[in-house]
């Protein structure tokens, strides 16, 4: 049991617990905050996997922007601060069963997949950030998905503004 395994165990527990909390808490803001805790757990995982760039981007993008967006949305769409009534809809039992079934089938897949037992190779000396940067922009690697992603973001930006904008004009009249 070396250090990384311990850290992995702890963060795994943290992630699973906070994910369950996200899904079960009745107070929406708490759910958002628990999501943020999960995100931090995932950041730690990335750090463990020595994917530094992902870890930092995870924090900047998810925690910095998306979580806050969630909190904004939750604030804007609640009549009163505390949500009342059960947060689970009627078919939650079937949903639970289905998710367990999915989990089971994924485990089955893993059980048979040959790759599962492999160990991590050494990563000393390589500057993964430089390699990632080049992979992102070199024409024969991933420049096209990168550009398409940027277009997607632009579209989403305009879309969100447009949807919100209409509403604002209406509310102005």
């Amino acid at each position: 049991m070396d250090a990384s395994q311990i850290i992995f165990g702890l963060t795994a527990l943290l992630i699973i617990f906070s994910a369950l909390r996200v899904v079960t808490t009745r107070n929406m803001v708490h759910a958002a905050l628990w999501l943020i805790v999960t995100l931090f757990g995932v950041t730690v995982l990335y750090a463990l996997l020595q994917a530094n760039f992902l870890a930092v981007v995870q924090v900047v993008v998810y925690v910095g922007a998306i979580a806050i967006l969630f909190i904004f949305a939750i604030m804007l769409t609640r009549r009163e601060i505390r949500d009342s009534g059960p947060q689970l809809n009627r078919g939650w039992l079937l949903a639970a069963f289905i998710s367990l079934a999915v989990f089971g089938s994924l485990l089955a897949l893993l059980y048979n997949a040959p790759v599962a037992g492999r160990l991590a190779g050494s990563l000393t000396g390589e500057d993964t950030l430089m390699a990632l940067g080049q992979a992102l922009v070199s024409p024969d690697a991933y420049v096209l998905p990168f550009e398409v992603a940027s277009v997607l973001l632009l579209a989403a930006l305009i879309g969100a503004v447009y949807v919100a904008l209409n509403k604002k004009q209406e509310s102005d009249q």
Binding site: D2, V29, L33, F53, V59, G64, A65, I68, F72, M75
Partner: protein, 399 residues
Amino acid sequence: MNFWKDPINVAADWLKNVFTGWGLTDPYATALVYLLGAFTMVALVMLLDVFLVWIERKVVARFQDRVGPNRVGPFGLIQPFADIIKLLIKEDITPAGADKVVYNLAPVLSLASVLLLWAILPLSALVYGVDLNVAVLYLVAAGALGTLAVIMAGWSSNNKYALLGAFRTVAQMISFEIPMVVALLIPTILSGSMSLKTVVERQDIWYVILAPLGFIIFLISAIAELGRAPFDLNEAESEIVAGFHIEYSGMKFGLFYAGELLHAFTFGGFMAVLFFGGYRFFGLEQIHPLVAVFILMIKALLGYWVIMWIKYTVPRIRIDHMLAFNWKFLTPMAFALLVVTAVMHKLLSGTQPWVYALGMFLSNVVLLLAALEILRTSARNQRRQEEAALSAIAQTSSH
């Protein structure tokens, strides 16, 4: 590695040997040593924070042509401690209906986000927290944590005004994050790497000379990120009471206040590292690591002084003007600068250093002039339309 050259690492190894002696296996020992190192760093920084309170009050006084605290101890040095004691004694009130956990966690997080920054600040060639290769982005991530703390504070204090203040602060911080990220990219382009240690090492010519406009944009967005001076609208007295930390009193407010000051100083330090050569001062830093630390501290204080200077001289800007300024002027200019620097860096990379420096400097000046020119024409059009509207109203009324 003799003690004289690299005192901290020598101490660290010594300590580690002590722990292994006590029977801890190697990983645990290193983990413990890192932990201790972090503690010492935090302690020193908190001490510095106290000193900053004093500096703040003295400088503010001097700006407002008054002496500032000089009663408590020589030159008022004890005044900060007096303040701390006052805050500790004050009654700690928690508003009814506040979300206890989140309410109490908010101030801790805001201070934590500032302390996290010190991990990547290279104090000297050998003395630094950790040499992250994504240090620049780490800086932005820590900023994101600060935003989170603000929201949690605003929402958990169950106060409509706190919530509104929090929203406005968050909007401001997120908006100014983008020009800051772009401004941070410029030293990355010039030095070719994101880790601050390599930025400092490759900074033979101070980047402020190569990209003065970059420094200005970084300065403006940093001030906005802090929520101070011209952009401190959210906790301005004349606006909505005291912003998101209305309901906080006692030491919780103290934490927020200390966090804010330390954040300002940290950004002074980052300005020094990114644009003023960090701990390097024409070779003086090789003498001894502590000398390097001292040089860095001097530069950081200068940066902090500039921030305070702007704070107490520039009038407050309205929130929509501020956001408009950011989105319509600062961000486009930042992107333009990024492109220009990248292109010029590639063009001039082969030339002598002085040609390179001159070229970069001139490009920045030209860009600045162009930006100002665009600003002036749009302003003039705006004024002409206003006058036309006015004259039209005047005519109709005169009939």
